[in-house]
Amino acid sequence: MGWLKWKWIPSLVFFLFLLGAWQIVITSFHVPLWLLPTPTRIAQALWETRQLIWSHTLTTVAETTVGFALAVVFSLISAGVMVLSPWIKRLIYPFLIISQTVPLIAVAPLLILWLGYGLLPKIMIVMIICYFPITISLIEGLELPDPDYLNLLRSMGASRWQIFHIVRWPHALPLLFAGLKIAATYSVMGAVIGEWLGASSGLGVYLTRSSHSFLTDRVFAAIFAITALSFLYYALISILARLALPWIQSKNHDSH
């Protein structure tokens, strides 16, 4: 439980302080509920609709997990291909950059139009959002090992594949995990955008319905659930990274 360390205590205290301040300001200024609810109201809404939120969360988790996994698979394939063939890289790389500038919220409705209202378009949106940071960091990691390492292995007569899995891949792992963390942070947002644009269940649906019913406390409950879910993914990836990178782990430990 690395994240439950003493050093986070001040942050936690600060967070509770902020919540308290929020509560006091709202109640003392009589801000109406539909404008900004108090933390206790939000907690109450969370508790009252916990079953509803839970069932919506399951949908979102399914979309996010599948989309994320697919993004990882595609990243591995395309980064691998681009690293093994510089020619293909030169062909595709500019599109990677440009694709990132295409506004997702404008394209998402089209995706839904083409792919229907099932899980598919949300999975696609999550995948698109996650694909870029993972691929970019993976390519960088696979390409940047010290050429001296590569030459050493070449001098030993290692095959391309051996060089890949002995040098390039372990060298790319830390960067890959950095990319995965970013992707995890954004993945839930991708699913919510997708659901917002058309779905029958999911946290995005819960969010829209609450907002259309002027239930601002539930809107905040939805925001809380989405944030918590994203953070959970982030924490999971962080723990996975610790396990997968023992040498980095030992390095950081030694130097502190």
């Binding site: 109406p32 404008l35 139009l113 229907g116 209202y117 644009l197 058309g198 019913s213």
Partner: protein, 313 residues
């Protein structure tokens, strides 16, 4: 009654008007009032703001970020039941011109046929209730209708693909279907239940506005009212005014939509914009009976005709 004040003597009062959607023929009268100088004559400078479909006009008007807005009786009712202090000043269209549509090829003629079908909606709480009521009347099983939320997507294209029926404003989406030669079966909401012949859309403002600046409200409504009257009398010219103000929209759609909608603004009412208490009461009761409102609202606080100009003007 209001006496026109020359714009040259006083600087115009700036007024923010928030639409409910992309500029469309529901808004024609507003743009006419702008173009023809009715607002200016009343000493007003009106700024138009447009949200997306999931916008929160009601809250924005309630907090005064917008002075006036375009909304719908359903939203106003739900908002008031949640203590959001807004009210309706005029019904833009006298009768509900919305309804459920399905492609003719699917042969959905009655609510009984909804079973096993997919409905693509806006994510409004009232949708479930309306469809449920509709189907119960014909002893159909509501649980067999699949509900999905289609938000921003093109409803007509969705009808050809993933969904079987949806809820449209005939004056806009129905007209587009005609342009596309897409034939639809339409089930008018007003025919389902008299309670559902509610006002959609309406002009709204917040309670503070009518209390603190009744004169401004009256001036604003005077101009708006004249704008719609012009649009009723001159559909072709009004359409061109809207086209000028909504250059992003499809002019053909606007023209055909305007021709269809102009006679329906006022319809059988004595004056454009008039609202009846029973319409507000009926609909709110209908919702309360179905547990869709946290509490019954006071209809007399949800709307007012007070700021409409005298009938003879």
């Amino acid at each position: 009654s209001t006496s026109p004040t020359p714009a040259t003597t006083k600087p115009p009062t700036v007024v923010n008007l928030m639409l409910d959607w992309t500029p469309n023929t529901n808004h024609t009268g507003l743009f006419v009032a702008q173009e023809k100088g009715y607002f200016a004559r009343e000493g007003l400078e009106v700024k138009f703001i447009q949200p997306s479909s999931s916008g929160n006009v009601e809250q924005l008007v309630a907090v005064g970020k917008a002075d006036f807005g375009v909304s719908h009786q359903e939203q106003v009712t739900t908002a008031r039941a949640n203590d959001v202090p807004i009210l309706s000043l005029a019904a833009i269209i006298q009768h509900n011109t919305s309804g459920f549509v399905s492609p003719t090829s699917k042969n959905i003629l009655r609510a009984k046929d909804f079973e096993g079908k997919t409905y693509g909606g806006w994510g409004l709480p009232s949708e479930d209730a309306i469809l449920k009521a509709l189907m119960q009347k014909e002893n159909a099983d509501f649980s067999k209708l699949k509900m999905i939320n289609i938000g921003e997507s093109d409803q007509l294209t969705s009808l050809t693909k993933d969904i079987d029926l949806t809820w449209i404003f005939y004056g806009w989406t129905g007209k587009e279907a005609e342009l596309r030669n897409q034939t639809l079966n339409m089930m008018w909401l007003k025919d389902v239940d008299p309670a559902l012949d509610f006002y959609t859309p309406v002009v709204i403002t917040n309670e503070k506005m009518i209390q603190s600046q009744p004169e401004l409200t009256r001036q604003f409504m005077q101009a708006v009212s004249e704008g719609y009257q012009y649009a009723i009398k001159n559909p072709t010219e009004a359409a061109e005014i809207l086209i000028k103000n909504a250059p992003e929209a499809n002019p053909d759609l606007i023209r055909s939509s305007q021709a269809w909608l102009s006679p329906r603004y006022q319809a059988d009412a004595a004056q454009w914009g008039i609202q009846k208490s029973e319409v507000w009461e009926r609909y709110a009761k209908w919702l309360v009976e179905r547990n869709l409102l946290p509490k019954m609202i006071d209809p007399s606080k949800a709307y007012t005709n007070e700021f409409l100009p005298e009938a003879n003007s």
